[in-house]
Symmetry: C2
Subunit: 166 residues, 2 copies
């Protein structure tokens, strides 16, 4: 009774892209530091970072002073990009064509176009994707900064960042 759950890795990924978005350009953060920032399991987070890397959202540098950084400007990365990178791009609704089964099955020839049920669900999903595509990581950063970053917390963050970037 509680399906349709978005993987929590999506939440992690968006938060971390937000963090990477405020790292000075040219610098990166290793996976361990990113995990530390929100007290996330480092090994598992690494898996999700790989997915982001494969999707071209972040770039990975190896070596002693390596780490992850955004692959493109934060304004060009949308919540939809991140979601698809983590969850995959398959639609949530998958028609199994049960209308072609049973005593009153529709003839395959009559099923050239999608059944109205499938169409409705895919349309709804398009609306969902459109909404997510309209928000960028830069938007998230701006809003978060203005909403819940007082002077004190901003300094705490800067201090941590200075100790984390190489």
């Amino acid at each position: 009774m509680s399906a349709m759950r978005i993987a929590e890795g999506v939440e992690w990924a968006v938060h971390l892209c937000g963090v990477l978005g405020v790292v000075p350009a040219g610098f990166g953060l290793p996976a361990g530091r990113l995990a530390e920032f929100h007290e996330l399991p480092p090994a598992y987070l690494a898996k999700h970072l790989q997915a982001l890397s494969r999707a071209g959202i972040v770039t990975a540098n190896r070596g002693v002073s390596g780490g992850y950084r955004l692959a493109k400007p934060a304004t060009k990365i949308t919540l939809l990009d991140i979601t698809l990178a983590i969850e995959g791009s398959e639609p949530a609704f998958r028609c199994t064509e049960i209308r072609q089964r049973g005593p009153c099955a529709a003839a395959p020839a009559a099923c050239k176009q999608r059944c109205p049920i499938t169409k409705a669900f895919l349309d709804a999903e398009t609306q969902w994707r459109k909404a997510l595509a309209s928000i960028s990581v830069a938007d998230i950063i701006t809003t978060a900064a203005s909403e819940s970053f007082d002077k004190e917390r901003r300094r705490t963050f800067q201090a941590w960042l200075n100790g984390a970037v190489k």
Copy 2:
């Protein structure tokens, strides 16, 4: 890499509500017949029908000539109603408030309002729900009838229905 899957029980439920929508008013179909109509596993389908019953979408009658029937006009039953009945009404995105954890945690006092990430995902989900709420079972029936019901199939269906209803 393939999350966010809608339970296929939703697809079944919508199709079956469509079938129940064209049953003459005052008559019902037992779960076994409904399962037979699309060659679905009867026992498992029964579980979903229970969920529809609890949600007030269909009413269940016991006894020798009992069965399920729509609890309200097909125009008043939306795809969203059915989806929520099967999947539950919890939102797909669930914020775990990781912003309140780690070396730069936000103070609980600063988290009165939802973080912008959660807000964005819930807004997207609202768009999704709105799209599903705009389609009724009656709409599905109308479209399906006009798209893929030629005279021959319509007769086949009527014959099955006459043998199925009590």
